[in-house]
C-alpha cells in the first residue's frame, strides 16, 4: 500500500517499524477520478500543503472522458462532432473561465489529510484511509 511522503517520514521514525493498531491512520491515500472533476478547484483551496493546485492549463481529453449527461460531457460531445483529430495537447485557460480549471496533484507534498476529498462536490477525489495494520503487514512487521 503506497504511503504518502509524510506517512513515509513518520513511519521511518517509529522504532521497530511497528505502528500501533488504531482506527486512525498515518494518512489517506488520495485517488483522483479526473473524469468526474468539474474544475471547481475547491480541493486546491483547502489543501494545506499545496499538493493540490489549479493549473492554468486544461486537457481537452477530459471533455471526452466526462460522463455524457454532464455539462462537460455535452461540451465534449459537441467538440467531438466537429473535431478533425484528437486533441493535440493541453490548452491555456483564460482567467475568467472558472469551470475548466485543471487540477494538479503532487503526491510528494501530500500529507494525506483528506480535506480535498471531503470538500469535493462530485466525488472526483477519494481519500482512502490506510490502516496501521495494513501498513505493518505490508512491511513485514506486526501490529503492536
Amino acid at each position: 500500500m503506497p504511503l504518502t511522503a509524510r506517512g513515509e517520514a513518520i513511519f521511518e521514525r517509529i522504532p521497530n517499524s511497528a505502528p500501533r493498531e488504531s482506527t486512525g491512520s498515518i494518512g489517506c491515500e488520495i485517488v483522483r477520478h479526473e473524469e468526474l472533476c468539474i474544475g471547481c478547484a475547491r480541493c486546491a483551496s483547502v489543501c494545506p500543503t499545496g499538493a493540490t493546485e489549479t493549473s492554468g492549463t486544461f486537457d481537452p481529453m477530459q471533455l471526452f472522458a466526462a460522463p455524457p449527461d454532464s455539462r462537460r460531457g455535452a461540451l465534449g460531445e459537441a467538440l467531438r462532432k466537429i473535431a478533425r483529430h484528437q486533441p493535440s495537447g493541453p490548452i491555456e485557460v483564460p482567467g475568467r473561465v472558472s469551470s475548466f480549471r485543471s487540477i494538479v496533484y503532487e503526491a510528494e507534498k501530500c500529507i494525506g489529510c483528506g480535506a480535498c476529498a471531503r470538500i469535493c462536490p462530485t466525488g472526483a477525489v477519494e481519500a482512502i484511509p490506510v490502516s496501521a495494520a495494513e501498513i505493518a503487514s505490508s512491511r513485514g512487521g506486526e501490529a503492536a
Binding site: 468539474i38 474544475g39 471547481c40 454532464s70 472558472s98 469551470s99 462530485t122
Partner: protein, 1118 residues
Amino acid sequence: MRCGVFLCECGGNISGVLDLDSLADVARGADGIVSVSRSQFMCGTEGRRLIEQAVEDRGLDRFVIGACSRRFQGPTFERIARELRLGENAVAFANLREGCSFVHRDEPEKAQSKAEKIVAAAIARAGFQSDLPRGRTFLHRSALIVGGGIAGVAAAEELAGAGIDVHLVEREQSLGGYMARLSKTFPTEDCAMCSLAPQLTGAALEPRTHIHTLTDVTEISGPPGEFRVKLRHRPRFVSEACVGCDDCTPVCPVSVSSEFDLGVAKRKAISRPFANAVPSLYAIDKRGASPCKSACPAGTSAQGYVALVAEGRFDEAYGVASAPNPFPSVCGRICTHPCESACARGDVDEPIAIAALKRFVADRVGPEIVVEKAPLVHSEKVAIVGAGPAGLTCARDLAKLGYQTTVFEALPVAGGMLKTGIPAYRLPKDVLGREIAAITALGVKVETGKRAGKDFSIDGLLADGYGAAFLAVGLQKSSEVEIAGAELEGTLRAVEFLRELNLGEKVTVGDRVVVIGGGDVALDAARSAIRLQKGSGREPDVTLAYRRTRAEMPALAEDVEQALEEGLKVEFLVAPLKIVGKKGHVSALELQRCELGEPDDSGRRRSVPIEGDFVEIAADNVVLAIGQEIVADFLEGCEGVEVERSQIQIDRETLMTGKAGVFAGGDAAATGGWTAIEAIAAGSRAARSIHNFLRGEQLLEIWPAKAAEARPSDEELAGQVVGQRVPAPLRNGAERRADWGEVVGTYSEEDAIAEANRCLNCAVCSECESCVKACPAGAIELDQTETIEELAVGAIIVTTGHKEFDARRKRPLGFGRFPNVVTQSQLARLLAPSGPTAGELKRPSDGSIPKKIFMLQCVGSRDCSSSGNEHCSAICCLFATLHASLIKQHDPDADVTIGYTDMRTPGKAHEEYYRLVQERGVRYVRSRSGEILEQPDGGLLVRFEDTVTGRKNEEVFDMVVLSAGLEASDGTTEIAHVAGLQQSSAGFIKEYHPKLRPVDTQRPGIFVAGTAQGPKSIPDTIAQAKAAAARVVSMLSAGYVLTPAQVASSDSEQCIGCGICVEVCPQGAAALTVGDSPHAVVDANSCRGCGICAAECPSGAMTLGGFSDEEILAEVMV
C-alpha cells in the same frame, strides 16, 4: 404545447419583402402549432384582438410573434400574455423586420429562407419557455433624497405633496447647495437667493420633509421598495437653542477660508453660511484636537490662546492658558513644550513659539488678576503632601471644586522642584512666587517645615478627619552612583547642590568643575557653577561630561545652546571611571572614551567603552547629575502604600495607591515623563479622582477622552508661505553668565501678535470657549459626537450636484497663483449683494474697482487634451454673459470682453438675452487664450487671437474670470460607490437610458436629477427633479413591486455546491447554504440578470429566468 403563430405585415415593412402566406404554411406544419394568423399591425388593437381570440378559441398556452425586434414591442406582447393569464414568458419572438426584411431587401429569396428559420427557431424556443415565478416586495411609502440643493428641495416638494415622507440629507450645514451662492440667474437676472429662499423655507415647514444636515449617507442595502439606509450625523456643536443672534462670530478668534464663499472670503470657526440658512443654526467647524493640544499632557488648548493672542485678546488668552495650568508664567519659561514638537507649522518652517507666547500672556495678565477665595462647598478636607507643581495644581483644582485643602511641605518654602531645582536665570523667584500666591489666595493652606513620616503621618491625617490625601513628594534625592571616589570631598550631587543654591544657602565651587550628565538638571548645575565662578571673580571653567553625543542629550535644545554660549565646555562620548582625589579632596575625574553602539530598549544608541582609551580632566568638583530617587520617609505611618524602584505604585486610571483614599502623582508616581507639565496634569487628574472618590460616584472624567488629532493636509501645508519664527530677546551669553538675571526676555506686543499669526489653526475650532461665554442662549455644545441613524425608505433620489473644475490644473492660466484670476462662481460671490463685498466688485489683490475685465470660456470643458473633460458644461456661456451684463449695468464704463469658443445659448429666451447683453456693450471675441501673465501691479496680460477677423490682440486687464466647467461633485462620486451606481465620464451619474429614462439609474428604485447627472441650468434641474419625483410617486403607488423575471435561480437537487457561482457573481447575489450538503441560492433582489453564473455552472443547476440553456439552444436553429 398549444402554440399560436402571429405574423405581422408591419404595414408593408415585412410583407413587402417576405411572403407571409408561405411562411404561415411552413409554420402550420411545425409540431405543436394549432393556430397561425397574420395582421397588418400586430402591435395594434387588431393584433391584440387576434391573439385574444386565438387564446380563447384554440386554447393557446403560448404564442410566437413574427414582427419587429423584441426590443421594441416585446413589452407590449409580454403584457398581453400576462393579461391573458399565460404569463409573460409565454411569448417568443421572431425578428422578421430589423433582423430580416429590413436588411435583406435586395435578396428576397434568401430573406425568405432565413425568415423560415427564424420562425422555426422561435417556435422551438417557445416549447421550452415556462412561467417564471415572481416575488413581491412591499414598498415603504418614503424616499431618501441625497443632496439638499435646489434639485433635492424641488423633488422633496413634489413628494411631500404626494403624501410621501421625505428624508432630505445634506452634507453641508445648510440646504441651498450651489444656487445659494449665486448672485443672479439668467436670463431674467432674478436674484438667486430670492428664488431659493422660499423653497428652503417651504422644505423646513413641510412636516413630511425631515431635513438632515451635516449628514452623510454611508450605506445603502436592500431591494427597491425596502432600501435600508445608514446615515452618519456629524456634530454641529450648536444645539437647537441657537437663535441666530450672531454674538458668537465676533468673539471667535479663528478665521479660515470660507467654503461657501468659494475661497474669496474668510469665515470664523463658528459660522452660518447665509442668513436664510435652513436650518438657521450656526455650526462649529471642529476637526478634532490640534496637534499642540494632543501633545500637551494637561490638554492645554494652545491653539486657543495663540489664536486669542493673534487678535490682541490677552486677557482671554490668559484664561484659556491658565484653565488647565496654574503655572503659565512658569511653564512659559521652563516647560519642555511637547506642543512645539508636534506643531504642524514645524512642517512648513518653524513651530509656533507656544511657550514664549504663553509666557508673554501670563507675565502681562497674571499680575493683574485678583484671586477671590473659593467658596467651600463640601465638608471634606484633603491633605496634599508636597508643594511642588503636582501638589499645588491638585490643591488649586480641589479648591475650585469647593474643598478645603492643606498642603504639607517639608522644606521651608513651597514650589518643589520649580523652586529648588530650577535656577533663577531660568525662572525668577518672584514669578514662581506670584503664581503660588494666586493658589493660596483661593484658600489653600500651605504648611511648610512639615515632613511626612516625621512631623506627621498619612495615617494620622486620615484619622484626623482628612477625607483623602495626595502624595506629590517628587524625587528629592540624587541617584547613588557606583563610582570610586564618590565619597571624596568636593563630590557634589546635582539635586542637593541646586537645592542649597536655590534656598539661598552659601554654596561655593572650585576653579574647575566637571558635571557628569546630559539632562536639564546637569545643565542647570553646570550653568549655576559658571555663575558661581564668575560671581566670585574667576573665569568660568565648567565641563560637561556626557556618555553619548549632543544628538542624544535629553536636555532641551535651547538650554544646551544657551549653556554653550555661556562658555560651557563639553566632553562627549565619555563615561566616568573614577574620581581621583588628593588629600581627601577631588582633584581629577578619570573618564573612559566611548563610541555609539546598538540602540537599547529606549531606542537610544548605547554608549560602548573603547578599550584602553582614557582621559583625565583636572577638577576641583565633580557634580553627579545622573538621575533622581524618591525619599521614602513618608512611608512611615502609611500602611498600604508601596514603593517600587522609586515610584509609588498606583492604579493608572484612578491614581489611587494601595491605600484607600490615598492618591499619588507627579515625579514620584509618574504616568508620563518626569517633567513639570506632566506633574501639573497629574495634579489635575488627582483632583478629579479625589472628587469622584469623596462624592462616591464618577462625576468627572479623570482622563478626559482625547479627540482625534487634526492636522492640515500635505496640500494645505504646501500652500503656506515659508517664513520663520519671531525670535524672543536673548541676553548676550558672555554678559548674562555673570549674574542670575533672566536669560530669555519676553516678546513685545507686536512680536507676540506677529508670531501668533503664524498659527495654522489646525483644528479650526480651538475650544477657546469664547463663543460659549458669548452665547446668550447657551446653545454651544462642544462635546457633541457623531451619531448613526438607520432608516428604511422605498426609493432614493440622488441630487448631489456638481463642483467647478479646479482651474489650478491649467497652470498657465494663473488661477491660484495670481490673485486677480477668479472663476465665475467666485465672481458670483463678489457680485452677490449678500456676499463678502456686499455686491461691490473689488479686485482681490488690492480691493480696487476693476475697469477692464476678461472672461475666458471653456476652461476645463470641451478639452480632451489637458483636463480630460470632453463635455460642454452647458451653462458657462450664459453664466459669463450674465455676469458681464451685471457688471456693465453697475458700471457702464467698465470694459468687459468675453473670449469664447462658441456661444451656446439654447433654451427659452437665452439667445435673446445674449443679443441684449451684446447691445449693452459687452465685447465678444472668438478666441481661446492659453496663457495669462501677471503684471507687477497685479494686472493680467492676455493674448487672444480673434479667429473671426484673424487679428491678434494683447491687452492688460484688471481682472480675468475663468468660466470653469462643471464636473461631478465629490459627493456624487461617494454616493455612486455607496449606492453602486455607474458613472460616466467626468463622474456624472449614468442615467439608465439617455433618451427614454433620463432620471432612472441602473439600479431600480434609485433615481438621479440635476447636475449630478450632467451639467444643466436651473430650470432644467428643477424639471429633472420633478420628473424624478414623479418616477418615485409612480413606483411607490403600486404599494408593492415584483421581483424581476430575468433573475438567476438554482435547482437545489442538481446543484453540487461547488461555489463557482458565488465567486463569479459581480453583485454578490449568490451564496451557498450552510450545513451538510450546501447548495446555491440567489437573492432575486440583488441579482441583475446577467447570466454569468448560469454560464459557469458546471452542473447546469443554475439558470437565468427566460434564458435557460434549452431556450437559448433551441433558438440556435441553423
